[in-house]
Amino acid sequence: MKVKIHQWNGVASWLWVANDENCGICRMPFNGCCPDCKVPGDDCPLVWGQCSHCFHMHCILKWLNSQQVQQQCPMCRQEWKFKE
């Protein structure tokens, strides 16, 4: 007997490779989106800091904009630098 597969329609869900499930700022799941967004994924990406904490990009930008003096990671209080 020989089986020939023409087409295999699989189902998968995408997820961020992150060390946490929820964004530390908005408490929403990373695989969802920040409260201001409607569509997850490309439209509401994650960003990592050099301290290895990650957040929704929109959340951390909002946070950084609100900081007057020094830009710190809201989790570990180290200086926030985007990880390249």
């Binding site: 597969i5 295999w8 699989g10 995408w14």
Partner: protein
């Protein structure tokens, strides 16, 4: 005997008083023999002098009474009964008429005498005074009526009824109202009216008799007493018959106009029945009788007016009665039965039967619809028809609201109600077909109804609610007539519907082979108009996922094409990539796919990771669909579309032609029962595998010809009772309750003890902000807490819940 009671002043006068009395009495009783005027006047004066003139009236009435009770009445009744049953109808009519004729003849002298006396009294002839002709006649008539009809024999009613029925049909046939039943007589020579051979037709005679009878009766003022009952029963009977014949089961044409025409005919006949002589003689009557006449005239026309009202009222009542009985069928027929509904509306406004209608409709629903034997989609179809029909019938929607309460209540208990409604909304052929078109009308659902103030209704058009409206729903809230709003509000919340729609949508999308979502996009757009954008947000993300998946697939395929021919393990693999947070919870099943496939998936994942930085894929191996060919020694099965687990099973048989259930189960990482169920398709439907002794399954390389299936057959899980990829509602519900449990525990830890209501309101406050808003009522929560109490995870005393101390 009258003389005894008269105070007599002297013997000399007695003679002349007696003579005078005789003279006057003779003049009154037998007007035929002429008295000379002066003598009569003298006698009257003489009587008047002795105060006897007052007695004349009483004496006449007394005489009438004597004569009636001694001879006239018995004669009348025996005349009526005389010839026992042997007579024909025609002769019976004659007997009836004859009896009344004799009656009139016998009473006529007395009546004439009374009238004469009355006239004298009025003229004041010879100083005579008294009641006048009218009241004398009234008294006489009262006496006649009471004596004659003191103990009426049923035969009178019987005969009158028969005679009236006959004249009615004669009249109707002359007016051209053809009754169908006459037409099918074998000879065809029967007269329509009197139903005897045309040669012996007595139609004309009957009508003449009718007129005479009416005149006699009206003269004796017996018309109302004798005829009303018969006429009423005839008309009621005929109307009922007519309605049975014309209206029952006939909903598609209006009956009101037809009835009005018929009623005019009937009134024509009635005018004959209640035709008093006064009307007929009007032009030639003597001026003396003028007073009497005008009274007769007006009473005759007012009688007709009364009858008209009566008939209309009666028609409405029996029409409503009949339609109430049939209302269920009318509703199921609805768009066709519109005429019946309109008639019913007209009649219902004139009778006080709304309550009856509601009660009867409710019980019809309960007995015919709301039992386990009826499919949910059928209940919904009837409910939709009922909405449409009843909003025609009662624009205030009260009937709809009250009568359909049982349906709504019952639908709430059916598990698949929401799914059926959603199926209907999305145009699934299995659902109710009306809903899809209703949806495309696209009015927003007014569940909150906050817009009622701004509707711009003219205050002048406001009408109060009918008295049977449910009181607590009164007030500014307007009852909705929109079908979708009503259906959605069965559960009181949009969210359940939207959740269900999401589940249905997920199923549809996952069964898609070619990312074709045009129809779903249209549906979501329509639902957005109804439910508002925010509610449909999740569905939009789902649709976007489909579009994105197609693009990503395209990208990965392109990448692949750049590689050499040999390195294309992904050729056959495509994927639907979900944003898991936005899809309904999918069934979790374990399945190990055969190495070629899992390797392909790995490669696919790698490509994806390259495409989207920091993101990866988590495959759901049991979901999706596979198209494959199976080549056997003597036959080839091509283009089979199967589920992944089916494919995995058969792929394993490719490397080894014989497996036991246990081996397969281990290899697939799936439970034995599942594998056993799935293997059945290859075994029974396709005949590719067979079971051998020792529970081993082997490939059937050479199959018998009879089992050859058709080519290119689609096999989507026909063995599965319900091929839904999403978890069922009750499972989801259970998950949500578990979520609540965490909250409840935390609350009780902090606050020690709480009442049910407190817990409920706290939960609403905290949990309702989650992504999936659940409407949970107190009862459901109570049931849940009770369960926890039974499981000893919670304690309750005096309505206060607390956690057990040990925990």
């Amino acid at each position: 005997m009258e003389a005894d009671s008269v105070p007599v002043s002297g013997p000399a006068l007695r003679m002349s008083v007696a003579a005078a009395w005789d003279k006057v009495a003779a003049a009154l009783v037998s007007p035929g023999c002429l008295q000379e005027e002066q003598g009569l006047l003298d006698s009257l004066v003489l009587l008047g002098d002795h105060g006897l003139d007052q007695l004349l009236g009483s004496w006449l009435l007394e005489t009438l009474q004597m004569c009636l009770s001694s001879s006239v009445v018995p004669e009348f009744w025996s005349g009526l009964k005389q010839p026992e049953n042997e007579l024909e109808e025609r002769d019976r009519a004659l007997v009836l008429l004859a009896a009344f004729r004799t009656l009139l003849d016998r009473l006529q002298p007395s009546l004439d005498g009374l009238e004469q006396l009355g006239i004298w009294q009025e003229e004041g002839r010879g100083g005579l005074s008294g009641l006048g002709p009218r009241s004398l006649k009234e008294r006489a008539v009262t006496i006649i009526r009471s004596l004659l009809l003191f103990s009426p024999d049923p035969i009178l009613q019987e005969r009158v009824l028969e005679f009236y029925s006959r004249t009615f049909s004669v009249y109707m046939s002359q007016q051209g109202e053809q009754e169908e039943r006459g037409n099918d007589s074998p000879e065809g020579r029967l007269c329509q009216g009197c139903e005897v051979l045309t040669a012996q037709c007595w139609c004309q005679e009957a009508l003449e008799h009718l007129q005479e009878l009416s005149h006699i009766l009206s003269k004796l003022q017996l018309l109302e007493r004798v005829s009303s009952e018969s006429v009423t029963s005839i008309l009621h009977k005929l109307m009922e018959q007519r309605m049975e014949r014309h209206c029952r089961g006939e909903y598609e044409c209006s009956f009101l106009v037809n009835f009005q025409e018929w009623l005019e005919l009937v009134l024509g006949w009635l005018s004959k029945v209640f035709d008093s002589e006064a009307d007929a003689d009007a032009p030639t009557s003597t001026p003396g009788a003028a007073g009497d006449q005008s009274r007769g005239c007006s009473s005759s026309s007012s009688i007709l007016k009364q009858w008209r009202c009566h008939m209309q009222q009666f028609f409405c009542r029996i029409y409503v009665n009949m339609r109430i009985e049939e209302l269920f069928s009318i509703i199921t027929d609805f768009p066709e039965s519109k005429a019946a509904i309109e008639d019913l509306k007209f009649c219902l406004e004139r009778t006080n039967q709304r309550q009856q209608l509601i009660t009867s409709l409710k019980s019809a629903f309960e007995s015919r619809l709301l039992h386990p034997g009826v499919h949910t989609s059928d209940i919904l179809t009837v409910y939709i028809s009922a909405i449409k029909a009843l909003r025609e019938l009662d624009p205030s929607m009260v009937i709809l609201q009250v009568a359909c309460q049982p349906i709504r209540k019952y639908l709430r208990t059916r598990e698949d109600t929401v799914r059926q409604i959603v199926a209907g909304l999305t145009g699934d052929p299995e659902g109710c077909t009306d809903l899809a078109s209703e949806l495309s009308r696209g009015d927003p659902v007014t569940l909150e109804m906050q817009d009622s103030d701004e509707e711009g209704n003219d205050p002048e058009d406001w009408t109060p609610d009918p008295t049977d409206a449910v009181p607590e729903k009164l007030g500014w809230k307007r009852r909705s007539s929109d079908i979708i709003s009503l259906l959605v509000s069965i559960y009181g919340s949009k969210d359940i519907f939207i959740d269900e729609y999401r589940a249905v949508l997920a199923d549809r999308l996952l069964h898609q082979v070619n990312y074709n979502t045009a129809r779903e996009i249209r549906n979501v757009e329509l639902l957005k108009l109804r439910f508002g954008e925010s509610h449909m947000h999740y569905c939009e993300v789902m649709l976007k996922d489909m579009a994105d998946s197609r693009r990503i697939n395209g990208n990965i395929r392109e990448e692949e094409a750049k590689l050499g021919e040999q390195e294309q393990p992904l050729q056959f693999l495509s994927a639907i990539i979900l944003s898991s947070e936005f899809w309904p919870p999918l069934k979790e099943e374990k399945l190990e796919l055969p190495p070629p496939v899992s390797q392909a998936m790995e490669t696919y994942t790698n490509r994806y990771q390259k495409l989207k930085a920091m993101r990866t894929l988590s495959w759901k191996p049991h979901l999706g669909s596979v198209t494959l060919d199976v080549e056997l020694e003597d036959r080839v099965l091509t283009n089979l579309t199967v589920s992944p687990i089916h494919a995995a099973i058969i792929l394993h048989f490719q490397e080894k032609s014989s497996w036991t259930l246990e081996e397969l189960s281990v290899k697939l990482g799936a439970p034995k029962e599942l594998v056993h169920r799935k293997i059945a398709m290859w075994q029974q439907q396709l005949g590719v595998l067979r079971e051998e002794a020792g529970g081993r399954y082997c490939v059937v390389e050479r199959g018998s010809a009879k089992e050859k299936p058709e080519r290119g057959v689609m096999l989507i899980d026909s063995d599965e009772e319900r091929d839904s990829n999403t978890t069922t509602q009750s499972e989801q519900r259970e998950e949500k309750l578990q979520l609540f449990w965490a909250y409840i525990q935390a609350m009780l830890t902090n606050l020690d003890s709480m009442t049910l209501d407190r817990i409920h309101s706290m939960l609403r406050m905290f949990v309702a902000t989650g992504p999936v808003v659940t409407e949970m009522d107190v009862n459901e929560l109570e049931a849940f807490l009770q369960r926890k109490v039974r499981e000893h995870q919670l304690m309750v005393s005096a309505g206060v819940y607390r956690l057990p101390k040990s925990s």
